[in-house]
Symmetry: C2
Subunit: 667 residues, 2 copies
Amino acid sequence: MPVPGKIKKAAMANEQAWPKADNRRIVIEGVVPEVDHGTVPIKRIPGEEVRVRADIYSDGHNSISAQLLFRQKSSQLWASVPMTLLGNDLWEGKFLISLFKDHEYTIRAWVNLFETWQKEFRKRLEAHQDLTMHITVGKAILKQLLSEDIQDDHLIDPVERQRIMDQCQGEMTPQALLDERLTVFSQNIPDRLTCYDYLKILPVQVDRKQALFSSWYEFFPRSFGKTGHHGRFRDCLPVLKEVARMGFDVVYLPPIHPVGVTRRKGRNNSTQSETGDPGSPWAIGSPFGGHKAVHPDLGTIEDFSWFVREAKALGLEIALDVAYQCSPDHPYVKEHPEWFAKRPDGSIQYAENPPKKYEDVYPIDFNSPDKAALWMELKSVIDFWISHGVKIFRIDNPHTKPFVFWSWMIGEIRKVCPDVIFLAEAFTRPKVMNQLAKNGFSQSYTYFTWRSTKEEIIQYVGQLITGESREVYRPNFWPNTPDILPVHLQNAPRSMFIIRFVLASTLSSNYGIYGPVYELCENQPVEGKEEYVHSEKYELKSWDWDRAGHIKEVITQVNQLRKIMPELQTTWNTRFCDIENSKIIAYTKSSHDGKRHLLIAVNLDPLKDQTGWVKVPLYDWNANLNSRYEALDLITQAKSQWQGEWNQVILDTKERQFLIYELRFQQ
Amino acid sequence: MPVPGKIKKAAMANEQAWPKADNRRIVIEGVVPEVDHGTVPIKRIPGEEVRVRADIYSDGHNSISAQLLFRQKSSQLWASVPMTLLGNDLWEGKFLISLFKDHEYTIRAWVNLFETWQKEFRKRLEAHQDLTMHITVGKAILKQLLSEDIQDDHLIDPVERQRIMDQCQGEMTPQALLDERLTVFSQNIPDRLTCYDYLKILPVQVDRKQALFSSWYEFFPRSFGKTGHHGRFRDCLPVLKEVARMGFDVVYLPPIHPVGVTRRKGRNNSTQSETGDPGSPWAIGSPFGGHKAVHPDLGTIEDFSWFVREAKALGLEIALDVAYQCSPDHPYVKEHPEWFAKRPDGSIQYAENPPKKYEDVYPIDFNSPDKAALWMELKSVIDFWISHGVKIFRIDNPHTKPFVFWSWMIGEIRKVCPDVIFLAEAFTRPKVMNQLAKNGFSQSYTYFTWRSTKEEIIQYVGQLITGESREVYRPNFWPNTPDILPVHLQNAPRSMFIIRFVLASTLSSNYGIYGPVYELCENQPVEGKEEYVHSEKYELKSWDWDRAGHIKEVITQVNQLRKIMPELQTTWNTRFCDIENSKIIAYTKSSHDGKRHLLIAVNLDPLKDQTGWVKVPLYDWNANLNSRYEALDLITQAKSQWQGEWNQVILDTKERQFLIYELRFQQ
């Protein structure tokens, strides 16, 4: 597969005076991927390929040729790769994203006169017709191809071209004219008269690798102070070390800014706070500052910078929470009252979801008359934290702000810092979540949090991997969040926490947990709600992190595997297996070259051992259906011999709730 | 459903200074129907509706409202109709095409502040919150709506508006503010700040009724002369009368132009013609003229005009065959040699499909350097015959000419004569056939000719009715043509001819037969080919039209039913029924209002009687599953009593090979 390094000077048709519209004979339609008519970029990371399919045809019975053109965004130079006909006028081509740069692609096709001539000539030859004149015609077409300016074309070997040129000078036998090498030569030289370029240039947003592969750990630094004290960044080095030891690579912090005092929430979301209650970190802003300030009890901005550096040294990146909303004490409220909606009595409108009121929070009016200044200020919040070493942002409730704000803001940031990653925390209707992905978010929260049965998981993951959103929506699976203790984890046994962790971390290459409550298997809800009782959102907690029953070792094992196995670093390769037990879910994750295969099986029953026969997709892997192969347990390193498609897996609820095998075939 | 007669003054957003792009909060996407990003018109006839669906949503939790806007093409005035939410952000609206004019449509949506306010107010009321300020807010929004300039809006009843205005002057109770009538009022008044119009205006090609409902009869006038003589138009009055008696409405003639002499084909496609052989009518042109001349043996242009008039008096329209190709004797060849491709020796390239040669025909080079003049001349052929009363053209092999020629030519003709109908005679790959439909052809030949098993028919018709092509591709079903005696009709019994006729004429509202060979059940092929032996294409025939075994009465019966039953005048209402016999095919055709239902059953077995239990789709018709209803045989007028879903049909191979029932439910 050619890479953009090897480029050719191929101007687009509309940059030259080539075909006039009414010379057009080629149709290119049904191009996939193409999101929203090409206005929305598809997403890739370096190392992923872009596979493009399109219906391409012309009038008449001529052969046609097609190329996939691609380049770094706005480059003057296109690279190209031949497309191949799959049948029924459907063509395919692909290219590899080898550089961390946004790309674009389009399609070129033309009537291949020489190939058409060869096809007809072969039939004439077989019918023993007089060939004299037809040889003249064929050589003339070939000479025309040789006369094209193709010096810089990487698809044409100059030696081969010279060989053909020499050959063309002399007599050519029918067999020489039917040479397959001439066909290939012709397939790389667009015909001037019929060459047609697809009218749209389709964009590819290329993000860095972490956009597709990341292991998030969320915690509240304020809970890690000395007993009874508000935790400080400087207290958290042991936390970072433990998180790094467990194998995570992103540390995500709830808002670290000063917390408002006015109408501060008390414990358990009480509207009355008591002395010492720290308030919700999402009630941002106080006289100590707003979105660009650090909560004084957490430390100084220098302390934060130290924290970022220490994390980096441990292989961790810091992700910040960006919640565009203000406590009544936020400096914006006094300085820019025009940025907030007013009620008829002139007071600022607090947040509501009638009949519920959130009086500790003022939403920002994104359509304020002073919008230009407001949007610039909101963007500058991101700029500020970028300047303090933060490159990952988890955006709080983006679906309650205008979509155009996100596409503008993310676009502006990516112009300067293409390595910034945005995670959309939108738990809302599917089309709205997808729209945010189209606005440029690198990752998105998902419904995984609530998908618990085998059928639900298979259907949902299938939809994410093969559905319309596939090209833009990178899932990030969270078994829990500070807002969500889902029903299946409420009062659930330790085994259930392992199940949900393993599913999240092996189905999706992006996943995260909110800890330490998760690995400590905290399972007590507020009665009838998905909220944690005594939620850390409203009070300082103190965690005995080594408490019996934690699942840290399982987490560590799987995270280490994720780091060394490229098959676990993408979501798109997940394929579910048939298995004769509805309580076991099994899936494979294969390498892109099809040479390495992982098989993962999880006992979805937290209470009962389960055994099942799983069907290994040998057929899809082009393996002999009676193959013998080795199943290497990547957790225990134990080896077993498997044979054929159907093999047994035995899972329990204690030691062996899941298995991750590498299936090794003899070369 | 509003009709364009009742119009409102609604300017498109981009015609006013309404929302700036960055005020945008509404997303409109996934609009259906929308062909090729709105560049290709969908097709309708007057009386058909356009049902439009789209995903419409905004950020946040506000209610939104949406309207489908529609108008006659290029009119300044839009009509509108409210769209309704079907769920999951999918909205639907529809309008009726009541005029024989091209139309266009688009979508408008906005955040409905009043409805949002009502929704929240209701919750506040139920939670017994203080409402004082919220009433102020609600009334302010309502007053804003009342202040909009909506005088000409047919969706707003001025009396109702005045009532609301009066009410607004005084105190309003919470219940009054929650009045559903206010909700409806708000749903018809776009909000200035958030109103967003879909960026594209989508076109509708409106053809006259015959584009969807037509019964074609093809015959060679030259075969109806006095014994042994070349038939003349003036000989054909009895033919017209018989065709009219059989209930057809389109008489389609193979090319009526002078036939070339050079390399004229003889009988059975022989390359050697003998004296008296008339040649293929598709070898067009001789010293007597070309595409604008009448074959002297058929008569004069005045005779043709007489023929058209006589046909019209009998309720028949004449359709001409347009084959853009020339015999070597065509005047174009001498006058415009530049319109033909040359071989290296300077001779004109004859038609070929190597190794086959068609030396009696020169293809026209549509991409000739003199293209402008050529295309104008080719279009003028259509103009010429329009001026002689012809409004239907069957285009020969359009897929071997550039697509852009068709879209240009058909577009130009429709500008002046929107009532011209073009039938595309392309038997080629599906995407190419669909492309021609997108180029503007009103009707298209189909693969029906070769679809003979129950499964094939159900799958193919399903695809035509519900597939992607549905909006542009109007099928015309032909059981035979002069070029095609399909395998299932070769040496087949009379019953097979009835089967294929009934399927064609009841599955598709456009159908045609090539006669009299069809109704005489001519079934002899050239060995191993789909050609008729002694094909009428190459020789004068003489038909004994009342020969025993003809199927003219069946044809007459079904054609008469087609004329009186609107359910048979559309293809889109065909729905297949379950039936417990694989040799019987059954389908219903219901009226648009769902009040009248036809049931058609056909014995696909030409040799054996068949009985089966057919499932009447009572559930889909919202009928009681135990209903008793009358089955009226529309052929015999016999009545039987049916009950429930499953009822028996008894079919034979002689008298009762098919049935067409009207199922009558008590009102």
